[in-house]
C-alpha cells in the first residue's frame, strides 16, 4: 500500500509530528511505501536545520531527515507556508534577499501541488494535525 502523509503542526508543540513519524515508520516496517510526507501550516517547522532540543529527548527534525535518507521518503515543505514562517532553503533565501537559510537535510521546498499529487497517487492519505 502507498501512503501519503500530511503533517499540519510543528515539532514538539503538538504530538502530530511524532504520531506521523511513528505511523510512517510502522508502515515502512510492514513493507508499505510512504510516497510523500507533506508539511503544511506550522508543520514546515519540522524541516528546520537549527533545532537544538535537549540531548535526552528525541530530535524531531533529525528523525525525519534520517527516515528520508534510510528509506528514500520524499519530505516536502509547502513553499507558501514556509515563506510565511521563515523556513528558507538556499534558493529561497537568495531569491528573497535573506542572509541565511535553514532547511535540514532530506527536506525540499515545493508547492501545494505536491500535496494534491500525493492524494492522487497514494492509496491512503493520512492527516496529522491539531
Amino acid at each position: 500500500m502507498k501512503f501519503g502523509i500530511l503533517v499540519n503542526e510543528g515539532p514538539y508543540t503538538h504530538q502530530a509530528s511524532d504520531s506521523a513519524y511513528k505511523f510512517a515508520k510502522a508502515a515502512i516496517d510492514k513493507g508499505h511505501e510512504v510516497f510523500r510526507v507533506f508539511f503544511y501550516h506550522d508543520g514546515v517547522n519540522n524541516g528546520t536545520s537549527l533545532a537544538v532540543p535537549p540531548q535526552d529527548d528525541r530530535h524531531i527534525p533529525n528523525q525525519w531527515s534520517e527516515l528520508a535518507k534510510e528509506h528514500n521518503v520524499d519530505l516536502v515543505l509547502c513553499v507558501a507556508a514556509a515563506q510565511r514562517r521563515g523556513m528558507l532553503d538556499e534558493d529561497e533565501a537568495q531569491r528573497n534577499g535573506k542572509s541565511a537559510n535553514n532547511v535540514a537535510e532530506g527536506f525540499r521546498i515545493s508547492g501545494l501541488g505536491q500535496l494534491i499529487e500525493a492524494g492522487i497517487q497514494a492509496d491512503r492519505m493520512m492527516v496529522f494535525g491539531d
Partner: protein, 102 residues
C-alpha cells in the same frame, strides 16, 4: 465504502469526537489517538456516547497513547479494541479511506 475515522483530541477539550460520531456511517471505524484516548475510558461523562455508538461503529484506541498518559487498557470501555502503531497502519490499509477529526 468503510471509512476509518481518527480522533486525536479529548472530548473534554474539543467537539471532534462528538462531530465524528454524528457523521460516521454505520459500519465505519473510529480510532482514538493522542489526547483522544481519553474518550476511550470507562466511567467518564463521555463514556455513554461511545457505548451507544458502538452499536454501529467499531472503536479502537492507540495503546501507546494510553500508556503515555498513565491510562490502563483494562479501564477502557468494554469492546473498544487496543491497537499499536502497526495496528493503526493495518486499520488504515483495511479501510477504503481515512478521515482525521482534528
Amino acid at each position: 465504502m468503510a471509512m476509518l475515522h481518527t480522533v486525536n483530541k479529548s472530548p473534554f477539550e474539543r467537539n471532534a469526537l462528538e462531530s465524528c460520531i454524528s457523521l460516521a456511517k454505520a459500519g465505519s471505524s473510529i480510532l482514538l489517538t493522542e489526547d483522544g484516548v481519553v474518550g476511550a475510558m470507562q466511567g467518564t461523562a463521555h463514556s455513554k456516547k461511545i457505548e451507544d455508538a458502538m452499536a454501529n461503529i467499531s472503536f479502537y484506541v492507540l495503546g501507546p497513547d494510553l500508556k503515555a498518559r498513565g491510562l490502563s487498557e483494562s479501564n477502557v470501555v468494554n469492546g473498544v479494541k487496543v491497537v499499536d502503531y502497526s495496528g493503526f497502519v493495518d486499520l488504515a490499509a483495511d479501510h477504503d479511506s481515512v478521515q482525521s477529526w482534528l
